[in-house]
């Protein structure tokens, strides 16, 4: 068996990788802190946040307010933008020194990119894209719940002999706790030592914008290929209901709407009170992202569409013909 750097008997503590972008911690990192806080309390373990970047000190306080007992803060101009190899170098050194038992990362593009590289460098097990985490009864091993085959099969994965037990978790699976500004913690600056070979990939350009946050939406009006790119009625309805517009991956790939709106396996897991799904076929890749919705309404012109299996109320009709009078009625009612 390939051995990890250290074994279970030397391992201690729970780590959360704190992903940051544009002067903010990622939502999924805060969600992980809330979840990891519970695991830490359950096992009386210390919860450590790992924060890398340039000039990101202020974010360490956010992590503390959200539950971290300690933050390992690595700052360097070379870390200003996420790059696989410099980040992997610094995190590997920290893991080797502190020997965490559990190490959690968000399943964002960068989080998955880093986790995959780290797991091999550390020769340990990684449970990717978890939809839930728990501790096993007696062993206290981390159990990661994952879906396979597009969402149809659920498996629980554990890592018995190798440390850290690594997992990535999809954004929106856990909920962020309220910050407690009075929490005190230990913020430790760490040395950043990079090698010349970590520098081989160059970021020529990075363009990001602050997107929508569907994981917090109470009402979501989502559209798929059936909208043929016309989201105007969906937007109107979202506005009237105080909600947000979401989309399938197809709609995003077609360029009809931003990627921040994508729901599903490779998008966001949402938990609205109400989701209205328009022109969406109901692929498992998509439906896993609305599983936790309180009420689901589907409108699809194909009466046989799979989406109706995942809806509380189904309308088998043209979405435009149904949404138009619906929007009109709501407007009338509100005018009264």
């Amino acid at each position: 068996m390939t051995e990890s750097l250290y074994g279970p008997d030397q391992a201690q503590g729970i780590w959360v990788y704190l992903e940051q972008q544009g002067g903010q911690l990622e939502g999924v990192s805060l969600e992980l802190l809330a979840m990891a806080r519970e695991l830490a309390d359950e096992t009386s373990a210390e919860l450590t946040g790992v924060l890398l970047g340039d000039d990101v000190e202020a974010l360490a306080n956010d992590a503390v307010a959200h539950g971290a007992d300690r933050v390992l803060l690595g700052q360097d101009p070379e870390l200003a933008q996420y790059r696989t190899e410099p980040y992997a170098r610094v995190v590997t050194a920290l893991v080797a020194e502190h020997k965490p038992d559990i190490f959690l990362l968000g399943a964002t593009p960068d989080g998955r990119d880093l986790a995959g590289r780290l797991a091999v460098r550390l020769r340990t097990g990684l449970t990717a894209d978890c939809t839930n985490l728990a501790l096993e009864d007696d062993s206290r091993l981390l159990l990661g719940e994952v879906t396979g085959f597009g969402g149809g099969i659920l498996a629980t994965i554990k890592c018995e002999q190798h440390r850290p037990q690594m997992a990535t978790v999809r954004p929106g699976v856990f909920t962020t706790g309220a910050p407690d500004e009075s929490r005190k913690a230990d913020i430790q600056r760490v040395n950043v030592i990079l090698l010349a070979e970590d520098d081989r990939v160059e970021v020529l350009e990075r363009v990001t914008e602050e997107g929508a946050d569907l994981t917090r939406s109470k009402v979501i009006i989502a559209g798929g290929r059936g909208t043929r790119g016309d989201f105007s009625l969906l937007e109107e309805l979202a506005e009237l209901l105080g909600g947000d517009v979401g989309a399938t991956r197809v709609a995003v790939d077609e360029g009809w709407i931003g990627r921040d709106r994508q729901i599903g396996q490779t998008g966001f897991a949402t938990r609205p009170d109400l989701a209205i799904l328009c022109g969406i076929s109901g692929a498992m890749h998509f439906t896993v992202g609305v599983e936790k919705a309180e009420t689901v309404i589907a409108i699809n012109s194909d009466p046989e569409a799979e989406i109706f299996e995942h809806a509380d109320y189904g309308v088998a009709d043209d979405l435009f013909q149904v949404l138009k009078p619906l929007v009109d009625q709501i407007k009338q009612a509100q005018a009264r």
């Binding site: 390939t2 972008q21 696989t84 190899e85 593009p109 960068d110 990119d113 995959g116 590289r117 091999v120 020769r123 990684l126 990717a128 096993e136 159990l143 396979g148 085959f149 597009g150 149809g152 099969i153 659920l154 498996a155 629980t156 994965i157 554990k158 890592c159 002999q161 190798h162 990939v201 160059e202 970021v203 020529l204 990075r206 990001t208 009237l240 209901l241 105080g242 197809v250 790939d253 990627r259 490779t266 009170d273 109400l274 498992m284 896993v288 599983e291 689901v296 109706f308 299996e309 995942h310 809806a311 509380d312 109320y313 189904g314 009709d317 149904v322 619906l326 009625q329 709501i330 509100q334």
Partner: protein, 275 residues
């Protein structure tokens, strides 16, 4: 590779064969995945990586080499890839590889790539975004680490500029453009292109003559402790059919106006909260 000489471009494409997702089920008694009744397909994201490779070959010339780890039945699917335009294929197939998680899978594939690189060269390793049957997107960075190559995940566009790879990579809320030296490992975003159809002129060759080299564990320079079940730190401790949430599945019928009215009634609670 220099800017003027792309003739030697060797692209290794990691392609996996997976059961059709809708045809697998869980055998609750044995807690195993029952794929006996499932037909297989090439992992859909891998069709996108193959298309990407073939486009690079169309542009720069060179060779597209398929690589897969799996049982002998994969042979048939590799030949599909050959009839699409790939030049040769390697199948890593051995009982000892069975039960591999991402650590062991990426190691085995990496050792296969090393041997191909030694014998034929390698400028680029292309992977799909993720495989639909289990692990998620961790094999490509794993291969890159085993081979000490740079990695670019979730790439949408690739081009070769002066012997370097330029890649547009998806990040949260946007994209970035990366420049990496070759050889590099790239995972290609699912759905970035329309995979081409089978080239019927290649079909007979692909099915009968095309070289599909099968390598067993002994054919590779392997640490036998690092492959298959033994080399896999993670294990499955529970398995179930995803309990899809029970929905009411009520059907609303009528003219569009009537349907809209019925929906309007259903939405009352949400409208009240708003008011």
């Amino acid at each position: 590779m220099s800017g003027t000489n792309h003739r030697d471009l060797r692209i290794i494409c990691c392609v996996k064969v997976v059961p059709r997702p809708e045809e697998v089920s869980v055998d609750q008694d044995t807690m195993t995945i029952d794929r006996a009744n499932a037909r297989s397909i090439i992992n859909p994201p891998d069709m996108n990586l193959l298309e990407m490779a073939l486009q690079l070959k169309d542009q720069h010339g060179g060779e597209v080499i398929l690589l897969s780890m799996g049982p002998p039945l994969f042979d048939e699917y590799l030949r599909v890839g050959l009839s699409l335009g790939a030049d040769s294929a390697y199948l890593l197939s051995d009982r000892a590889f069975g039960g591999a998680d991402t650590l062991a899978t990426s190691y085995t594939l990496a050792q296969g790539i090393r041997r191909i690189r030694d014998e034929r060269g390698c400028d680029l390793v292309l992977c799909g975004e993720e495989s639909s049957d289990g692990a998620t997107a961790q094999v490509p960075p794993g291969i890159a680490e085993w081979l000490d190559m740079p990695q670019v995940t979730y790439a949408g566009e690739l081009s070769l500029v002066d012997g370097h790879l330029h890649a547009v990579r998806e990040v949260k809320g946007g994209h970035e453009v990366l420049k990496a030296p070759l050889p590099a490992v790239v995972s290609v975003r699912v759905g970035v292109n329309e995979p081409r159809f089978i080239d019927f002129e290649r079909k007979a060759w692909a099915e009968n003559e095309a070289p599909v080299t099968v390598w067993a564990a002994d054919d590779l320079d392997l640490d036998t402790e690092a492959i298959g079940l033994t080399g896999s730190p993670t294990s499955v401790s529970g398995l179930g059919q995803a309990r899809s949430v029970e929905r009411r599945r009520e059907v609303i019928e009528g003219t569009p106006e009537e349907e809209a009215r019925a929906l309007f009634e259903q939405l009352q609670t949400f409208l009240r909260v708003r008011a």
